[in-house]
């Protein structure tokens, strides 16, 4: 590996020298293209942390969304039923298969025409606002059953707002502590 790198750098150096000596103008040789490789990835809150089991956590971050569903839906279903073995449907009338199919492709849906919210009782997954209580939404959908009344001790963490007030204008986030 090291050898290859050295060889490649030598090769690059030769090309650079050649290029500059042949060049009829003063333009420097173009800098080599720099590439970046995926590390962490997220869209909807708490998906990797809740639905992905330990051995898969890095793998999930390295799986592009277009193939996530096929790779992870059944695993998400297993995890959902491990969290709530009595799961039937939820307040969005989604079966375990439907719910985990939605979640396993981890993209944050956003609307450019509707109110942007994770869930406000009317709009579902049209964005994520800073003050959205996303954890309560997810707890309700996981534990609340078809009408949201099951497992009442588990469907809200009773932390309903941030610890600082958001700004009404850019950059919206509150100043740091």
């Amino acid at each position: 590996m090291k050898k290859t790198i050295i060889k490649l750098s030598l090769f690059a150096a030769v090309i650079l020298v050649t290029a500059s000596s042949c060049s009829k103008n003063d333009n420097p040789a173009p800098a080599p293209t720099v590439y970046y490789q995926g590390g962490d990835q997220m869209a909807r809150p708490a998906i990797n942390t809740v639905f992905v089991t330990t051995p898969d956590k890095d793998n999930f971050n390295a799986t592009i969304p277009s193939v996530m569903g096929a790779a992870f839906q059944s695993k998400f279903k297993t995890q959902l039923l491990a969290l709530n073995s009595a799961y039937t449907t939820n307040a969005l009338t989604l079966t375990a298969d439907q719910f985990t199919t939605l979640l396993a492709t981890d993209v944050l849906n956003v609307s450019t025409t509707k109110k942007t919210t994770f869930f406000d009782g009317t709009n579902v997954l049209t964005g994520r606002a800073l003050d959205d209580d996303v954890i309560d939404v997810e707890l309700l959908l996981i534990f609340g059953g078809p009408d949201g009344t099951a497992n009442p001790g588990l469907t809200s963490d009773h932390v309903n707002a941030n610890d600082k007030t958001f700004l009404t204008s850019f950059p919206y986030l509150a100043s740091p502590w």
Partner: protein, 218 residues
């Protein structure tokens, strides 16, 4: 001592992986690094013609830690936008730190999609990273009407994670009312981009989707 042992045992049990935050410390390869994403937000701006994307990284920073926290010049923060429903990015907004400023590229159609990326020039906005303790945030406008910010902010995420851990560990059966925000008093390194909706090529339905990925220089 006993307390420490118990705490240690719990950490091991929970280290089994169910540490439920938004995306804070979600996976071993990125935990505690400049690549660790904590949250993604996408919402309409105060100007309803705009959408705002917030990508937060490096969570659970104490005020002391925030004073020295920094973006990493080798970590690209990329917001991906799909506007035709195939879950492949059609547009990207990229943010890369040059040691002083955060430089932004896009929204632009990327020349390559997936895990590997390159900067998709030209630079569309540049903003000085707001230092910790600054009286007001430093913001800048880009060439295409985008507005940008980069720097430490209060973590907007809120959750009684500690009580949830107790529930999972079997030492509690439910949440407390009121709960305690485990993220209170902590900061994140934040990138905020406000984008005219007209740049996003959204379909008539207005339905697009987004995700954020951090990428390490290779």
């Amino acid at each position: 001592m006993t307390k420490k042992l118990v705490a240690g045992a719990c950490a091991i049990l929970l280290g089994g992986g169910i540490l439920w935050a938004a995306d804070h410390n979600d996976a071993p390869a990125v935990k505690g690094t400049s690549e660790d994403i904590t949250d993604l937000y996408a919402f309409q701006g105060s100007n309803s013609a705009n959408l705002v994307f917030v990508a937060n990284t490096q969570g659970l920073l104490s005020p002391t830690a925030s004073a020295t926290a920094a973006f990493d010049p080798n970590t690209l923060i990329q917001i991906n936008i799909d506007n035709n429903g195939d879950n492949v990015e059609d547009l990207v907004i990229q943010a890369i730190y040059d040691g002083t400023n955060m430089k932004f590229y896009g929204p632009v159609q990327p020349s390559m999609t997936g895990l590997k990326s390159k900067l998709e020039g030209p630079v569309t906005a540049t903003v000085a990273v707001t230092p910790y303790g600054a009286a007001s945030p430093k913001t800048a406008m880009g060439t295409n009407g985008i507005q940008v910010f980069a720097g430490p902010r209060d973590d907007p995420f809120f959750f009684d994670l500690d009580q949830f851990h107790k529930i999972l560990a079997g030492t509690a059966t439910g949440f407390n009312n009121p709960g305690m925000d485990s993220f209170a008093g902590t900061n994140v390194m934040s990138v905020v981009v406000e984008v005219p909706k007209s740049l996003l090529n959204a379909p008539a339905s207005g339905a697009i989707s987004s995700w954020v990925m951090t990428k390490k220089k290779i």
